[in-house]
Structures are given as structure tokens and as C-alpha cells.
Amino acid sequence: MKRLLIAAAAACVALLLLALSALAFGHDPRELLAILVRGSVGSPFAIAGTLLKSVPLLLTGLSVAIAFRAGVWNIGGEGQFIAGALAGLLGARYGVIVSLLAAMLAGAAWASLATAMRLWRNAPEVLTTILLNFIAIHLLGWCVNGPLQERAAQYPQTDAAAATLPALGSVHFGVVLALAASIGSWWLLYRTAEGLRLRATGLNPSAARWAGIRVSAQLARAMAVSGAAAGLAGGIELLGVTHRLFERFAAGYGYAGIAVALLAQLHPLAVVASALFFGALTTGAGELQRTAGISSGVATLGQAVVILVLIGVDYVRTRR
């Protein structure tokens, strides 16, 4: 609880620092904050935009949180997101449910490649997952320029997926799925014996092994669930928002998930709030670009500042 309060404070500090950065663009910090707020929650349209951005962030944030809880550094959300979307596109002809299941399976499989390399050659996940990202990005690039390119063969993109997520007002059903995933992850981690063992593995793998826990099985499972969450994010983004795949489809959601999870202190329920915060920041930054001519890169800057503030707070806390 205390850690979450600290994280919330860190988010506020990050917002203030971000506002101060307006000075560098020749703007009033108060004006920047006002536009950010208006652009993200100032109208029903803005709120819908924030929600839509938050859904993939929530799921990739969960993905990172679950893996980190088990002590695995899954930096491969981006690749698992793409793998999920590709499988989702192929599965869409059999309907939404099959498409999303395929997306989860593909995300899990892509993440499990890193587990396999860990088990066979003791290759660290930090490296393998990030390298798998590049492979996935180029695989997607090849697909949209080759076998999966639209029938018109005009742009490097696919045809629209054969299925679409049901609408829910001005957002899509993915909002419900993401919330359910968050609650489901919380239940798995904090209300089941296997979740307890997964957390023990992350906190002290050596003691976990002595307590009879099969550590490598825990790691493999955590990685698969983590990959499934990121894959689901890709599938939902495809069926709910973009409807087709193109080269820059992943748009950094996988990496942004790291910031989301860290701000949420790796707690699956807090990930909801954290994803909303970053989702709002992203939509607000879009508004900044449109009305004030400030680069929407401000959103990425915001992510970086949050992480740096959190690291700073942790540093101060552990030094005392």
C-alpha cells in the first residue's frame, strides 16, 4: 500500500517535471498541463481515446508484471504483441473468440522461445526477449510486404481482419477483457497456491527450490502467461482498433508496458490505474501536438521521467 502511494506521488512529480519541460518549447507549463488534461479526459471523445490507448498498455503492463513477479525479465512484450496480432489476423476468419485465443497462444509461444533458450543454453531472458522483438518486427515487415499484403497490393499493409470486436459505446469490448485479465492475474498471483509459489520463486529462487518448488517450471509458466497477455493485447488492438496490420503496428506498446508495470509496482490491480495514467498521457500528448505544436514525443518523455523518478525514490529508500 505504501509503495503504491509512493508510486502515485512519483507520477505526480513526473507530471510536474513534464510541465516544466514546456519552458523548453517556449510554452507556459500551466497551459501544457491544461491541454494534457483537456486532451485526455476533457470530453467524451477524449475519454474514449484514453480508454482505447489504455487497453493495450494494461495488457502489456500485466505481461511485464507477471514475468517480473516470477523474477524473469520479459522485455519482449513488443514481439509477443506482434506475434499475437499476426496469429489473431490468421484466426479471425473463424471468429473473434478463435482469433483472440490464437493471439494468446502465439504470444505465449513467442515468449516461450526465450524460456527454451534459457533451459537449453542458459541464455538470459533480458537478451533473448529483446532480440525476439527484432525478429518479430522484421517478420511483420516481411508479411505485410509479401504473403499477407492487401489484395490491392498498394500499401505495405494487410487486408482488414475478418472479425471485429463488438463495440461498447464508443470503445470496444477489449476494455472488459483487459479488466478481466487484470482481475484474473491478481487472483492467480494472490489467491492460488501456484501464484504463491510463483511469487516465492521471484523473490528467492534458491529458497523456493529448497521448499520443493520446481523453479524452471514456474519460470516457464510465468513466461507463457506473460506472453499470452502481450499476445492478447496485440489481438485486441488488431480486432478493436486498427483492423489491419502494418509495419509500425506495435507502436511501442510492448516497451511502454515496462513503464506501466513499474509504476504499478508490479501489482496486477494497480496496473489498471497505471495504464489509464499512461493512456491519458498518450492521448493528451496527441492533443498537445495538434493544438500547441508540441511533439507528441512528450508522452514517451513522460514514461521516462516516471521511471527515473521511481528509480530515484527507490534509491533514496534503500540508502536510508
Partner: protein, 431 residues
């Protein structure tokens, strides 16, 4: 020369060093031997001025250099740069540092070449040479080495002994901590034995032998023990050359570092259903960041916070764990209470086989007695217990039969009477 007078040192309630007086004379090689946790390193750190004693005083003529068991080197720097650390200089070129390092090494009489190599590229043997050179470079009148041969090949160890003898011949007081009795007998002129923080023997090396040293290190085995063979049940464990029957306690004894840790780890992997009490309880026994309730539930088939808390309260009472409650962090418990927590988790499900490694190391008397009572009770209820310990008193207090482990090899099974007669020799590897 260095004189320690009535030194005492407390860590919490644990008396690490208890009223020790010792004089290290110029020109003499002294070996300090004793079990893990006997207080050797603490005493030597006090001698070197790294720790302040709670009682007594340290008087030394000239400098004291202590070479730690673990390397204290900067991996990213070169040999020359590491040797320059702590030296007062204003400005030096790389070349000047290297020339100085070569001079220091030549003076030490230890062979170490290519001083521009970074430390991370060095072999373990070379790193320990560098540590030794660093210490000698300060021209100490007293040089203390903490288990200097632990990571050396026999050849490297011989080289080290030559350097130690030469330093002693030139008037340095040389002291080394060791577990290895053969090398103690080969190198030391005087042997000091510590046990439980006290100095229990101070003798000329020529007046003793490895066997009697081993016996003093781990306290004397009791005179002919009462013959009490429990009724044997069926075979519960048959592995690694160990055969255990239901209801009996068999001890594996030996000087630490003879393969006990590896044996326990192999049994852990081979026997997932057994109860395992690891020797390093803080690292392997508990998850420090989790609560008592969570730690107790690690082997459970279900997890429900409320039920787990209730269950934990029962276990806290049953195992008299001193804790604020089931939601306290396990890492905040004292060592004895952490061990009770591990016992509670491992014994609760009444496993047929229990492997307990150093179950009372570092515990106070009351906690030790509690652990022993629990193990006896488990055996009385039909569990086969393998007790891996370097504490002979403990082995004889609990075990029906003993094996000695020396250089990763187990002796045959010894009955209590036979063990009392032979265990010292077997532990020292002189049988």
C-alpha cells in the same frame, strides 16, 4: 607482534568471540582452526582493526594486514591499478604505475606477470596472489590470511606456503585460518583451536596431530555412548550409499567443505517429497520478503490468505515461534525463529524422510534443544532422518549411526561405539 587481551564480541545475542587472549609473535606461523561460526574470522578482523571489540584490547607493534577469504579487488582495473589503490600519490602515468607495480611484485617474491591485465581476466589463483601482494606491499609486521588455500590448486598452495615461510623467516608474524588439517600440520609452527567463540587449545604443532585437532575442533565425542538401538522399520531411503530405516536418525559428520552441501542438494533434487532443512536457512530456508503465513504455505496445495493466517497462528504456537503474528515478514525473525519456521513447514506434513543439514548452526541453546526435540519426535513417529552436521556433539546426541564424509566420500556406516573410536581419524583423513 600483536597481542589480543580478553577480546569479546557480541552480534546481537550471539557471542561470536568470548574472552580470547592470544599473542602472535614475530617470525612464527600460527594456524587458527575451528568450525564454521567458531569465531575465527571475527577474531582476526578484530586483530586487524576492522571490527571494534566489545571487550578487551588489541595491542600491536607495526601494521597488520588481513587478506580476506573473498577477493577485495576492482575487476575493471588492471593489476597495476589495483596495487596503486590506497597509495597516496598526486599524479602518475600508466607507465609509472606499471613500473611501480612490477617493483612491488618483484619485492614480494611472488610470480605474477603482465601487470597491465585487467583483474577480471585473471584466474582465481592469480587473484589470490594479487591479494597477497597487496597485503605484503604494506610491509605489515603481522600478516593474517583467511582460508588462503580455499581456492588454490595444490601447486599454488605450495607456492603460498613458501612465501609464508619466507615472510616468517624475515620476522613477520604470519597467521592463517584454515579448515584443512593436513596443511595446518605441514605449515604451522603453532596451532590455535577455536570453538563456539572461545579459544580451546593453543599448542605447538609438533605437540599435536590432525586427529586430535579434529576432535578438539568439534568438541570431544562422549565416552562410550549408551547403546540404544531403536526398533528398525522398513527401508525408507536408499541413495548415495546411505540406507536409512524408518524411525532412525543417521548422521553424516565431517569438517565443513567436504561435500556435505552437495550431498544435501542432490538429496533435495532426488527426494521432492522429503522434508528438507537447508544449512543456509536465511538464503535457502525462508523467503525473507514474504510473511510467515506465506512461507508456511509454500508446500501447501491451496492458498487462501485468511485460512493461511489462521493456520500460521497454530504453527506459531505449536513451534513456539517468537513473532508478532502471521503477517510479519519472515526476514525480520531472529535466526532461531527462522529455523523454527522452516521446521514447522518441513515437518508439518509428516514426511517419511527428513534431511536436516546443520539444523542448529548458530542457534542458541534453547533453540538448539527445541530443534533436537523436534527431530527426535519425528523419528519416534516413524520418519527416517538424515542429519548432516559438522557438530559431533549434535551427531552423538541424536544419531543411531554415523557416516563420516571426507573429500566427498562417505565412510561405511558406523555404530555409535565404533564411531566414537574412529570418527576423529576419519574426519581428518588420516585413517
Amino acid at each position: 607482534m600483536l597481542r589480543l587481551e580478553h577480546i569479546g564480541k557480541l552480534f546481537g545475542a550471539h557471542r561470536a568471540v568470548d574472552d580470547v587472549s592470544l599473542t602472535l609473535d614475530a617470525g612464527t606461523i600460527v594456524a587458527v582452526v575451528g568450525e564454521n561460526g567458531a569465531g575465527k574470522t571475527t577474531l582476526m578482523r578484530i586483530a586487524a582493526g576492522e571490527l571494534a571489540p566489545d571487550a578487551g584490547r588489541v595491542a600491536s607493534r607495526g601494521g597488520v594486514a588481513l587478506v580476506h577469504q573473498h577477493f577485495v579487488l576492482v575487476n575493471e582495473l588492471t593489476i597495476a591499478e589495483n596495487l596503486a589503490l590506497g597509495i597516496d600519490f598526486r599524479f602518475a602515468t600508466r607507465r609509472a604505475l606499471e613500473r611501480r607495480a612490477e617493483a612491488v611484485i618483484a619485492e614480494s617474491g611472488i610470480a605474477l606477470t603482465n601487470v597491465q591485465r585487467r583483474v577480471e581476466m585473471l584466474s582465481v589463483g592469480e587473484k589470490s596472489k594479487l591479494e597477497l601482494i597487496k597485503a605484503i606491499a604494506t610491509k605489515p609486521s603481522t600478516l593474517i590470511l583467511d582460508e588462503p588455500t580455499a581456492v588454490l590448486t595444490p601447486h599454488e598452495a605450495e607456492e603460498l606456503f613458501r612465501v609464508m615461510r619466507r615472510l616468517a623467516a624475515s620476522g613477520t608474524a604470519v597467521t592463517f585460518i584454515s579448515h584443512k588439517l593436513p596443511e595446518v600440520m605441514a605449515v604451522a609452527e603453532r596451532v590455535v583451536v577455536m570453538r563456539g567463540g572461545r579459544l580451546v587449545l593453543d599448542t605447538r604443532a609438533s605437540d599435536t596431530n590432525a586427529e586430535s585437532l579434529a576432535r578438539v575442533m568439534v568438541a570431544s565425542p562422549p565416552s562410550p555412548p549408551p547403546a540404544h538401538e531403536r526398533a528398525r522399520g522398513e527401508v525408507a531411503l536408499d541413495r548415495e550409499g546411505l540406507v536409512l530405516h524408518a524411525g532412525e536418525i543417521v548422521a553424516v559428520v565431517g569438517v565443513a567443505g567436504n561435500g556435505q552441501t552437495e550431498l544435501a542438494a542432490r538429496l533435495r533434487d532426488a527426494l521432492p517429497d522429503a522434508g528438507h532443512i537447508p544449512e543456509d536457512r536465511t538464503r535457502d530456508g525462508i523467503v525473507a520478503a514474504m510473511t510467515l503465513a506465506e512461507n508456511l504455505a509454500l508446500k501447501a496445495s491451496r492458498w487462501n490468505p485468511r485460512a493461511a493466517a489462521k493456520h500460521a497462528e497454530t504453527m506459531i504456537a505449536l513451534y513456539s515461534i517468537r513473532a508478532r503474528g502471521p503477517l510479519q515478514r519472515a526476514g525480520d525473525l531472529s535466526g532461531g525463529n527462522q529455523q523454527k519456521l522452516v521446521l514447522a513447514r518441513e515437518l508439518e506434513r509428516k514426511p517419511r524422510v527428513i534431511v536436516a543439514a546443520e539444523p542448529t548452526r548458530g542457534l542458541d541453546l534453547e533453540a538448539t534443544r527445541f530443534v533436537h526435540d523436534q527431530l527426535r519426535a519425528a523419528a519416534a513417529n516413524g520418519a527416517a532422518i538424515l542429519l548432516i552436521t559438522s557438530d559431533l556433539d549434535e551427531a552423538f546426541a541424536l544419531a543411531d549411526a554415523l557416516h563420516v564424509i571426507y573429500r566427498k566420500k562417505l565412510s561405511e556406516r558406523l555404530g555409535r561405539a565404533e564411531a566414537a573410536a574412529r570418527v576423529g581419524k576419519l574426519m581428518a583423513g588420516v585413517a
